[in-house]
């Protein structure tokens, strides 16, 4: 059942919260500040008592699937369990109460944590330095490309192109464009890996970098990664690693050793900081020595036990965000790393690969598996085989929701028709993987026997399939001035005077 909006529950006579009074003798803003600088209409915020506020959000929470209650095999997103100790650590007042402009002496513990985290990440991906500032993966991609850009410029080279495989995540080309590069797409070979031929064809002195993720978004390890690196480096370009798939091989191999010059990591994927329904995350970037001078400011430096923030970096690309990154997320990731240790992280990757291959095996005969195995931490299946029954990847996804599973990533990567991208992660038990496989089997059966039933799923969730097209149409009408309803927000009936 659906829930009214907080605005719709609003009551003019609800108990407003008790708040401290000023208790000083001073005029109020309204008496001092010229009327034209003041607000004329009060914002139409809801007015609810604390019990109503809490119940509202409790009921909203109960309308979500989450890894705390459901298997969440969202390919490329590494929805692994988030240890509760991470949350306990991040909520220590010694971290949450720190003002970013406190003197260095008063935040040595925070700086030490950031420094140790940098060391640990360097060890995992095999780079020389890491900046912890980027707020997410895409932000890290852009930060790294800016560094690569600055590197080339520092050598008087105006390289204007960035190569991106057609299987790449959308943030890769978007980040390249945001850095002012032209994006040139590189084709995938039939085996799902990047086509070396096409790569060679696209490489030139105009190319600043090739962005690659490995294993790629199909979950396949780029076997020829060393040749790729050589090709790229021979043209003077840099090799960029999209670390969203790092969970595949921690402790087994390192991007740095593969020849990657810059690496972003999604702490909210590989290192268990929670996704929060869409962030906050953290996207640290690691670089090899020749990119180090271009790291954003500030960096954390440690000289015989004393830690400081270094703002004096002449070649730096400057600041990529305010303060020092999503510190609270850094605390969680570091807590996870300490608890797991080198042995635990390695085991995690092994288990992730094992789970993916087991589940892939169980998919045989149910869905198409366009590429040969083994896969790494995830695999891409296809609902193409159900097309004759008029069933699409979307229908399979909705069928899973009906069966109390979150859905895999669908229609990505774009190179696979009706793609169903499954990443089970290491934190799920075999029992859960089997239950998921059984659900897929049931759905495939239903697809063949009663496709129309499947078309109407889910029906036991708060809402059924939503008409996104109608939504877009109505927004369009609003933007064209043909309607008063923004659709993108609730609209108050009437304004209250301030």
């Amino acid at each position: 059942m659906t829930e009214p909006l907080s605005f719709e529950k609003s009551r003019p006579n609800a108990h407003a919260p008790r708040l401290p009074d000023a208790d000083v003798t001073a005029a109020g803003a309204a008496d001092v500040i010229p009327r034209e600088l003041l607000r004329s209409q009060a914002p139409a915020l809801p007015r609810l008592s604390e019990p109503e506020v809490m119940r509202h959000y409790s009921r909203l929470a109960s309308m979500n699937y989450s890894i705390s209650e459901q298997f969440y095999p969202l390919g490329s997103c590494t929805m692994k369990y988030n240890p509760v100790a991470n949350e306990a650590a991040a909520s220590l007042p010694g971290f949450t109460a720190l003002h970013p402009y406190q003197d260095e002496e008063s935040v040595q513990g925070a700086l030490e944590l950031m420094w140790r985290l940098e060391q640990a990440l360097c060890a995992v991906v095999g780079v020389d330095r890491v900046t912890l500032q980027p707020a997410a993966g895409a932000h890290g991609e852009w930060t790294a490309l800016r560094m690569i850009q600055a590197f080339h410029r520092s050598r008087g080279e105006a390289r204007t192109e960035v190569l991106v495989p057609d299987s790449a995540h959308g943030t890769n080309p978007a980040s390249a464009a945001l850095s002012g590069f032209q994006v040139v797409e590189v084709a995938s070979a039939p085996d799902g890996r990047i086509s070396l031929a096409d790569l060679e064809a696209k490489l030139s002195s105009r190319v600043a970098a090739l962005m690659l993720t490995n294993p790629n978004t199909l979950g396949l390890f780029e076997r020829e990664i060393l040749d790729i690196a050589e090709l790229v480096h021979n043209t003077g370009a840099k090799l960029y690693y999209d670390g969203a798939n790092l969970n595949a091989f921690m402790g087994v191999c390192r991007p740095g050793d593969m020849g990657f010059d810059a690496v972003h990591m999604n702490l909210h994927k590989t290192f268990t900081t929670p996704h929060g329904g869409g962030g906050p995350g953290a996207g640290p970037v690691g670089v090899k020595s020749d990119l180090v001078p271009f790291l954003p400011t500030p960096t954390v430096e440690r000289t015989n036990g004393h830690l400081k923030l270094d703002f004096k970096r002449p070649q730096s690309i400057g600041r990529v965000r305010s303060f020092y990154g999503n510190f609270g997320m850094l605390v969680r990731a570091y807590t996870y790393i300490v608890a797991m240790g080198g042995d635990g992280l390695t085991q995690a990757s092994m288990d992730a690969v094992l789970s993916a291959n087991y589940l892939r095996k169980r998919m045989e005969g149910l869905l198409d598996l366009p590429h040969e195995g083994p896969c790494m931490h995830e695999f891409v299946a296809s609902a193409h085989n159900l097309a004759p029954n008029g069933i699409r990847a979307l229908d399979v996804a909705k069928g899973l929701l009906e069966r109390d599973f979150y859905a895999p990533t669908i229609y990505f990567p774009l190179v696979v028709p009706e793609a169903i991208m499954v990443e089970p992660t290491e934190t799920e038990s075999k029992a859960t993987l089997d239950a998921f496989a059984d659900a897929i089997a049931e759905i495939v059966k239903e697809a063949k026997e009663d496709p129309d039933k499947l078309h109407h799923e889910p029906h036991s969730l708060p809402v059924g399939r939503l008409d996104e097209v109608a939504t877009a149409r109505r927004i369009n009408a609003y933007l064209l001035g043909q309607s008063e309803d923004p659709i993108l927000r609730w609209k108050p009936a009437r304004e209250q005077p301030c």
Binding site: A26, T96, S179, G341, L479
Partner: protein, 417 residues
């Protein structure tokens, strides 16, 4: 499971990885028990000094405010914090409705048509707004008027550099100007002529971008009221702890004409076949996963959970509540300013300009003041000279509802002793 897969060891699954790349082990210590881990993390936390809320008079973009316990009670719900971006709407209505409410709250607060689901922080929000103006006007220059937060300015420069956008200081837009950016109140806490700057921008065919303090909007004219095209800002004050600078949340709202240029997620109202209302991600044609290099921005993961915290805060406080704390902060800051300027050698740096709850003041002993205050457990003002050569000896002091009158007495006594 190996057997089921039909192999006899993990090695069988790692065949694609060149031998030469295999490493023997990670150069990291082995794992620890939760108990030992927490002991280690706690010892790091204990190596930081925590100044009590009431004795914190330092702002500069991050402020101590009363945070209702309700905020953490909501954001700590695993159903919220362990969910992913709501790709499957039927199984994500909780997150989707919460963000839709956030969009409405921000639109109401800024008095603009539409707000997005959130951005990383105030700094990147300013930069994203500038990118919108750049694309919308096709002009390559962005003007920054007055005292914009210096870190926001730095980030704006870093964004601009990639795309060859010139960032200039000034408030006289020309036909080359894509946007005029101003902060209200500015980094020093002073009120600027937002309406005038907006008019000048429009007269030059440029976009007016207002960087605003969300709490101040309970009192001050919101961007929509004076016609600014885009409002951006930092939402930390809406229920988020300082947390050494993050994670906080950036917000952005705009006039309907610019909606298709907005970066990031947008949630819209929808319906199912039975006519039940639901919410969905919409206008995705702006976004990277659809438009790739032609997207309005590269942002994907944003700051949803922080936006949720802000929604809980605003819903708990209501318009009256926010207005109340804004007014209490105003009164206490002015009371503090009066007390300090009464001391020998203390004078307001810009006596002719209005401020809300943060103000720049010239202090007699800049070199030693804060060390002296720290000894009394007080986190004193912020030294503006760090960023502005012309502001030698000028510090900004902040008051909010957490700085009770006795705390103000303690501060005044400490500086005058």
């Amino acid at each position: 499971m190996l057997a089921a897969i039909g192999i006899d060891s993990m090695e069988g699954l790692l065949v694609d990885i060149p031998r030469s790349l295999r490493i023997p082990r990670l150069e990291l210590p082995n794992g620890l028990s939760e108990f030992e881990t927490m002991a280690q993390i706690t010892s790091l936390a204990d190596r930081n000094r925590v100044f009590p809320d009431r004795l914190t008079f330092r702002g500069g973009g991050v402020y101590r405010r009363f945070i209702p316990a309700a905020v953490a009670a909501v954001t700590s719900k695993p159903e919220f914090y362990t969910a992913y971006t709501p790709y499957q709407p039927e199984a994500s209505q909780g997150t989707l409705q919460a963000i839709y409410e956030f969009q409405t709250l921000i639109a109401e607060l800024t008095a603009l048509d539409v707000a997005n689901a959130s951005l990383y922080d105030g700094a990147t929000a300013v930069a994203e707004a500038a990118m919108m103006a750049f694309v919308h006007t096709g002009r390559k220059e962005v003007l920054v008027s007055g005292y914009l937060h210096p870190e926001y300015l730095d980030v704006l420069r870093a964004f601009g550099e990639g795309r060859g956008i010139k960032i200039r200081k000034g408030s006289e837009p020309t036909a080359k100007t894509a946007a005029v950016i101003f902060q209200q109140p500015d980094f020093l806490g002073l009120l600027v002529d937002a309406a005038g700057l907006t008019k000048r921008a429009h007269d030059a065919g440029a976009i007016a971008i207002a960087c605003v303090d969300p709490i101040s909007l309970a009192l001050l004219a919101p961007p929509g009221q004076y016609g600014a095209d885009i409002a951006v800002g930092e939402g930390q004050q809406l229920g988020l702890s300082p947390s050494y600078g993050g994670p906080h949340v950036g917000f952005i709202a705009c006039h309907k004409d610019l909606v298709r240029r907005l970066p990031g997620r947008l949630i819209g109202e929808s319906h199912d076949a039975q006519g039940r209302r639901g919410f969905v991600l919409t206008l995705t044609a702006r976004e990277q996963h659809i438009r790739r290099e032609k997207a309005t921005s590269n942002i994907c993961t944003n700051h949803s959970l922080c936006a949720l915290a802000a929604s809980v805060y605003m819903t708990y406080m209501g318009a009256e509540g926010m207005r109340h704390v804004a007014d209490v902060s105003f009164k206490r800051a002015h009371a503090l300013a009066a007390r300090l300027t009464a001391l020998p050698g203390w004078e307001l740096a810009f006596p002719e300009q209005q401020f809300l709850n943060e103000f720049p003041i010239r202090v007699p002993k800049p070199a030693v003041m804060n060390r002296k205050l720290a000894r009394r457990g007080i986190l004193g003002g912020l030294d503006m000279h760090r960023w502005y050569r012309e502001l030698k000896g000028v510090f900004t002091f902040t008051c909010t509802e957490v700085n009770d009158p006795r705390a103000i007495d303690e501060l005044v006594e400490a500086v005058s002793s």
